[in-house]
Assembly symmetry: none
Homo-oligomer: 251 residues x 2
């Protein structure tokens, strides 16, 4: 597989952008912990952990990318090809998601500060479903075969749909009698989650959707990178904002 100079730079710069976003969102959240009431700190600590884990994995992805694609053009201005003996590790993303997706759900539920029992009942269903979604997506991701990709993608979509069902239908039922202010928060948070998580299956499908060869590779890397910034860093900042507002309101 070959990457043009522009393609190589695009992936490179996006990966670096993700590192900076995750790392400094994590630090920002840690520095801001004491600005919210203690009961909202759990959600913030989890957010910071999620962004930290992502930063770690993007350091690895970035290094892996730099080692895997090489050129012998002077000044690095040329065509990049795969090096001998080094692979670009696609699994880092899935290892990252395996840890961060359950934590993101935990974080979203934690900031609602629901009754302990309701919280547990939601989490025991959401967390295993999210792990299953990631595990089922992986074999499709590493396969070059469109049929294989479609089958695992479809299987992975089942737990994804279940998560959305729990968040939109069941959580809605639980919150039916909640004060308007909470209802609005939940609605917005859910929409943000849907909007950002929805980017992943789309990026997954780029190679299938007629984008070809190295363009598909670049589109997928950029797609996942943008999705990770939205689903983790932006999400963390929204959670922080909610925790701040609720802290002022509860005081």
């Amino acid at each position: 597989e070959e990457l043009s100079q522009a393609q190589y730079d695009t992936v490179y710069n996006f990966l670096s952008l993700v590192i900076a976003s995750q790392l400094f969102t994590a630090l920002f959240i840690v520095m801001s912990l004491r600005r919210v009431l203690p009961k909202y700190r759990a959600a913030l600590i989890i957010s910071a952990t999620v962004c930290g884990i992502a930063a770690y994995h993007y350091f690895r992805i970035f290094d892996s990318f730099r080692e895997a694609y090489v050129t012998d053009a002077v000044g690095g201005q040329g065509v990049y090809t795969l090096a001998e003996g080094v692979s670009f590790n696609v699994a880092y993303r899935y290892v990252d998601w395996l840890l961060t997706v359950p934590l993101l759900l935990l974080e979203a539920i934690a900031v609602l500060a629901l009754a302990r029992k309701t919280q547990t009942s939601l989490l025991v269903r959401l967390i295993p479903a999210s792990a299953l979604m990631i595990v089922l997506g992986y074999p499709g991701e590493i396969s070059d075969d469109v049929t294989t990709k479609m089958i695992w993608g479809a299987l992975s979509t089942i737990p994804f749909a279940y998560i959305l069902y729990v968040l939109f239908v069941e959580l809605g039922r639980i919150l039916a009698g909640a004060p308007r202010e909470i209802a609005v928060t939940v609605r917005n948070l859910r929409l943000l989650l849907l909007g950002t998580w929805g980017v992943y299956p789309i990026a997954y499908l780029f190679p299938v959707l007629g984008i070809e060869g190295s363009d598909a590779f670049v589109a997928r890397e950029v797609g996942y990178s943008v999705a990770d910034i939205l689903a983790k860093a932006l999400f963390a900042l929204v959670i922080f904002r909610i925790a701040r507002l609720k802290s002022a309101y509860d005081d």
Copy 2:
């Protein structure tokens, strides 16, 4: 010894998963310290230390693995063989355990917040036994000979059995009159310890149990990696949970 691409990736990805789990569990616990009462913080600080030590050793194990197994296939998609002049260092795990196993016992006893005298009397027996268990296991680990493996494994099992005896029989006697809530915590903690520590001797036995050649290598690495996540990171989170609940209860 040769590893196929899939075998290489499996070990590689598990080692990276352990790094991320230990590192961010340690940071999570540090960030959460102030969320428990002061008397439970000792246990959390020890947890964070254990996970931190493990993260350090897994960085080393990961690097050692990457240097020891090499391929010259383009894009790294090929068979990996042992490089000349570099060994995959098995001792890191044992050095890690030598530090972390005594600390884990300390952490488990600390969170119970027993009377000082009882605590000391348990620890002076548990800690030397645990160190002995690790030291006796090492000569068997580095040997390729099944008989040698079995002999050292059996010797190492003696202190292991003694630890279980102290935790299940003696600790039970000490806690005979304790409130129900404490009794339940101890029972669960002990079962978790048994369930997770029990994985180590099983992984140790893979090469003996008829799994052969590089499959045994991969099974052992994955086995120890999973065991380390459960015995250290998951254990730390359970200790945190207990400390949180007890803090709420004591308040």
